[in-house]
């Protein structure tokens, strides 16, 4: 399938900086003569289509194009059609900032759906603040952030990591923990939180092993052997993996080959979903776990119809769905609802009306945008099956509210966020009673 | 070091050099008096170029003494130091700065301070300009001074390189096959030029071309398998049976 042949054709090619650099002065005269055409609402899509992150992000671009397509079939928003503006920030973090600026300032998009890595979000953050626009960020992340212009539809650590650890401790009797991650901010923060959490639950320091590896690490022999060794101390051991996308395939292949079965040392991952498993023979991995807020295997009518529509849209029966896609599904619908409530796509009214918006999620319930710009979600724990899907073995009884400032970190335990008036603050310190940390 | 070296310009004694088991230089000894011009001949692989490399510091010998002016140990110095002592070298294949003009090639070679700071703030003075003109005249390149060296013919490049050597004002010139690739007329002229030079400086010429060596009319050293086979006038060495055997095969 040629990617370019399908969804992106709806995306208008941005005519952007066609003005040459030196010609910028002269050519800017032409910018006033843009062709008159049917008025649309522009939606920016800021996902890497090339480079290392393309593996994960391309799907999200397709998701937004699919959602826009569906929305336009329903007549668009406020009587106007939606129009996607797709750019490729190419897994290049400074380029993310440049492209964000291009989308907002040049293309005048009303909202941007985008980013995957924390660093790309951090890179575009100043742009959205400065130009006062809206970003929907769909990926699980480390928390420790709440910005007026950003809506976080992925999981915060308390919506993923902590329930997963609870499950392992309760259901599998795990007493010894390996916290293995790629050396970047999400695993670092998550592991800090988990370490504090586990210690608070009485786990001894020597029963926690922390290991960091570089991005794209491909030789896992020693580390898997170390895990095996650590796991042979007589206590039930589990691995909590915050290993980033690319490095997972060789990691799981090595686990399988060294014969570490889920019954012996289960691995629970926060960055491995259906999409990542599509690159793997999951036969040897049955029983390893992942914690997400959505699995493709969720048994709900809304999910079934979403999957059906998605497969039809991509004309590919094998395309899987995953958690960040659901996050975009939720975020997009929230934005549509908020725009309709506000009657405009202007940033400020939409930001105000987004808080409190509640839309169906794909696991059969509703997710609501909270005043801290995070959403409520159920937490699901799934075990990998032989067919690359997950079987849900545990589900939190209710919805969990995303906790942006972790209670387990010294720096942030006194902070809260509430973007409603009168507080209108992303980092309110409840001890000092001041906004601003 | 040794008394034997006293009064000599260049003194090589018991020099050995092995490359991966191949003996390029084998107990080589050679003495050059100040002001002397010497021709060195020998078949391919006789060690001529390696000997030049050793004298100019490009290659370090395994054993042996290499002394300049009787006291300076050349084996401890690098190429730049040796060049600044006053030993100039012309390569077998003409090596000039092809993307510089003929004039700049000479200017770069002129005796002057060689440090980066000195060259960074260097301004060409009248004296230097005159000297450049003089050298260009000597090497018959005066009308090509603004040409890029790349545009010169093979012979002209040889001459330019000799000109650059002269610009260094060395006390010893090592000249590797100056006549290679030259027409007969050019070869003859080169011989004249070298003899002119030899009046003021010591010269070592490595050459294959016997006519050329004859034109020079100087003492000849024959190298073979890394050591000296014979030494004397050209007539004397060419009648030496050992030399005949080496050159004509047995």
């Amino acid at each position: 399938m040629l990617i370019a042949a399908t969804p992106s054709q709806t995306a208008k090619r941005s005519s952007l900086v066609a003005k040459g650099l030196f010609g910028a002065l002269a050519l800017s005269m032409l910018s006033g003569t843009a062709l008159a055409q049917e008025e649309t609402i522009k939606v920016g899509v800021l996902h890497s289509l090339s480079g290392t992150m393309a593996i994960s992000e391309t799907t999200l671009k397709d998701t937004i194009l699919y959602l826009i397509d569906e929305q336009n079939k329903k007549g668009g928003v406020l009587g106007k059609k939606l129009e996607a503006v797709v750019v490729d920030p190419a897994s290049d973090w400074p380029l993310f900032a440049e492209k964000a600026r291009e989308l907002v300032e040049k293309e005048k998009v009303s909202v941007v759906f985008g980013c995957w890595t924390s660093v790309s979000r951090k890179s575009v953050l100043p742009v959205f603040k400065e130009l006062n626009s809206i970003l929907f960020y769909p990926v699980q992340y480390e928390g420790e952030e709440s910005e007026r212009n950003v809506f976080y539809t992925g999981a915060a650590p308390n919506q993923q990591a902590i329930p997963a650890v609870d499950y392992l401790a309760a259901e599998e009797g795990v007493e010894r923990w390996v916290l293995a991650g790629t050396d970047y901010v999400y695993p670092r923060t998550t592991n800090k939180i988990l370490e504090a959490y586990l210690k608070a639950k009485g786990v001894a320091a020597e029963d926690i092993m922390i290991n960091y590896t570089p991005f794209g690490h491909s030789d896992w022999q020693s580390i898997v052997a170390d895990i095996k060794k650590f796991g042979s101390a007589g206590k039930k051991t589990a691995v909590v993996s915050t290993i980033n996308g690319d490095a997972n395939v060789p990691f799981y292949k090595e686990l399988g080959n060294q014969g570490i079965k889920a019954e012996d040392i289960p691995v629970v991952a926060f960055s491995v979903g259906e999409e990542e498993l599509a690159g793997l023979d999951t036969g040897p991995l049955v029983g390893h776990l992942a914690a997400w807020n959505y699995f493709q295997s969720v048994d709900a009518p809304v999910n079934a119809s979403f999957i059906e529509g998605w497969k039809a849209y991509t004309k590919n029966d094998k395309r899987v769905t995953n958690d960040p896609m659901e996050a975009h599904y939720i975020g997009f619908n929230m934005w549509v609802k908020a725009v309709e409530a506000a009657g405009t796509t202007d940033t400020d009214p939409v930001i105000d009306s987004l808080i409190g918006v509640s839309v169906p999620n794909l696991s059969g319930g509703y997710s609501a945008m909270m005043p801290n710009h995070h959403i409520t979600k159920p937490v699901l724990i799934g075990e990998i099956q032989g067919d690359g899907q997950f079987e849900i073995v545990s589900q939190t009884p209710g919805l969990v509210v995303g906790d942006e400032w972790s209670d387990f970190l010294d720096g942030s335990k006194d902070l809260i966020s509430d973007w409603r008036k009168p507080m209108n603050c992303g980092n309110f310190n409840v001890v000092t009673g001041k906004c601003g940390g | 070091m040794t008394d034997k070296a006293e009064g000599t310009l260049l003194y090589l004694d018991g020099v050995n050099k092995t490359f991966d088991g191949f003996r390029a230089i084998n107990n080589l000894s050679l003495v050059l008096a100040p002001g002397e011009m010497r021709a060195i001949i020998g078949p391919n692989g006789a060690g001529k170029t390696t000997m030049m490399d050793i004298i100019t510091g490009k290659t370090k010998p395994d054993t042996g003494d290499v002394l300049f002016e009787g006291s300076t140990d050349l084996t401890r110095l690098d190429e730049a130091k040796i060049a600044n002592l006053g030993i100039g070298r012309k390569f077998q294949k003409p090596t000039v700065f092809e993307s510089h003009t003929v004039e700049d090639n000479i200017a770069l070679a002129l005796k002057a301070r060689r440090g980066p700071w000195a060259t960074l703030f260097h301004r060409t003075g009248k004296a230097e300009q005159d000297r450049i003109d003089e050298l260009l005249t000597t090497t018959r390149l005066i009308d090509k001074r603004r040409f890029l060296a790349a545009r010169l013919s093979h012979g002209q490049k040889q001459w330019l390189e000799i000109g650059m050597l002269l610009a260094q004002e060395p006390r010893l010139l090592l000249v590797d096959e100056p006549a290679a690739g030259m027409t007969d007329a050019e070869t003859a002229e080169t011989a004249i030029l070298l003899k002119e030079i030899a009046r003021t400086q010591s010269v070592v010429v490595v050459e294959h071309d016997m006519t050329f060596v004859r034109d020079l009319g100087v003492k000849v050293t024959v190298l073979h398998e890394g050591s000296v086979l014979a030494e004397g006038t050209l007539d004397a060495v060419s009648s030496n049976p050992k030399v005949v055997e080496v050159y004509l095969g047995r």
């Binding site: 992106s8 490729d88 660093v119 | 092809e98």
Partner: protein, 378 residues
């Protein structure tokens, strides 16, 4: 002496380029700040920032061209010096945030707070002062280049061996800065800057000023590089490039010359990085990525190796192309960019500027041959 030295490096063409750069440095900010947004000649702020980035890259390209085009040292690790300069600036900007960080810690940057650092590491001291940061912007890349060059050139590491160890250098730094334990913010790097020398970094005025400063820096670097390459030292460098052993046997200590131009070039790259960071708003380890350094070499090749103008033109052309293609052809732009590189190598081996020059020289064949720039020997 210095002025004489600088003026000496100026031929007509260099003067034109210099004047053009100065004009851009003045006119673009003026068109941005003084003209109303609906004026046909108004330059939008995003364009100013974008061009600021291009010019920072142009300065990096100049520094690469200085060592590669004029001295034959192919550095596949110049991004390292660029990034180090950027980090020095980033650390200053980080310290300027002060209590405006999300945790309002007066000393520690945010990333240290939430990773439980208790105190500021020693190497962050002093960066609250601009003069100190400015000094480091020059000293850190300069010192690293000096030490690296001192060993490498003395050991006569040349050609592709040198290229690969420069790549190893930047790769090692990439991994090092990537480690969160190093105290440079790990993969997220340094971001969320607030102000520079007391001016709001996001204000149009600051942006325009930064742009002007960047172009000015490029102009000065260009002037300096012209002067260096036209001096006798520059001729020695070209000599080293074309015939290293000849230079040596003329008595020039080649390693000192290489070291000089290498260090100068690294400092230039460092300053470029420092100017880049406040305009982009983030510095993180990906700037050390060997691919970035290779790209910088490619800018020079596209523009024309061994012509200083070429380096500037190449950097701006390729990056403008990248900006344009990633927006206009988001899913096919790699074809366009890759195709451009292949096209340039096959059909414009001297690069854009080199080809134009050769064509120009061809038209004026009777003119003195000295203006002819030959193809690099390698």
């Amino acid at each position: 002496m210095i002025t004489g030295f600088l003026l000496n490096g100026f031929d007509t063409r260099a003067r034109v380029v210099f004047a053009l750069l100065i004009a851009i440095a003045i006119l673009v900010p003026a068109a941005n700040l003084l003209l109303p947004p609906d004026h046909p000649l108004h330059v939008p702020t995003y364009m100013v920032t974008l061009m600021g980035k291009y010019f920072a890259y142009a300065m990096l390209a100049l520094s690469v061209d200085l060592v590669w085009g004029y001295c034959g040292i192919l550095s596949l690790g110049h991004g390292a010096f660029f990034a180090l300069g950027g980090y020095a600036m980033g650390m200053y900007l980080m310290r300027q945030i002060g209590t405006r960080g999300v945790y309002a810690d007066p000393i520690l940057p945010d990333f240290m707070v939430f990773l439980n650092w208790k105190e500021l590491p020693w190497f962050w001291y002093g960066f609250d002062q601009f003069w100190f940061a400015a000094l480091m912007i020059v000293l850190v890349p300069g010192t690293l280049a000096f030490v690296f060059g001192w060993f490498a050139f003395r050991s006569r590491v040349t050609g592709v061996y040198l290229s690969i160890i420069t790549q190893a250098l930047t790769y090692a730094l990439l991994l090092a800065f990537f480690r969160n334990d190093m105290g440079f913010g790990g993969n997220n790097g340094l971001t969320d800057f607030k102000d520079i020398l007391g001016y709001n970094i996001q204000a149009d005025g600051t942006r325009a000023t930064l742009f002007a400063l960047t172009v000015l820096a490029v102009a000065i670097a260009f002037a300096l590089a012209s002067a260096v390459t036209r001096s006798k030292l520059g001729k020695v460098l070209v000599g080293v490039r074309d015939a290293e052993s000849r230079t040596r046997f003329l008595g020039y200590r080649v390693e000192n010359y290489k070291l000089f131009v290498w260090t100068l070039s690294a400092v230039m790259a460092g300053i470029a990085g420092a100017l880049y960071v406040p305009q982009i708003g983030i510095i993180n380890p990906s700037e050390f990525d060997p691919a970035n350094s290779i790209e910088a070499v490619i800018w020079v090749a596209v523009g024309g190796r061994g012509t200083l103008v070429g380096a500037i033109v190449g950097a701006i052309t390729v990056n403008f192309g990248k900006t344009w293609f990633t927006g206009a052809l988001p899913e096919l732009w790699l074809f366009a960019l890759g195709g451009l590189f292949i096209f340039v190598t096959l059909f414009l081996p001297k690069g854009i500027v080199g080809t134009v020059q050769a064509w120009w020289a061809g038209k004026r064949a009777s003119a003195p041959a000295a203006t002819l720039k030959p193809e690099p020997a390698e």
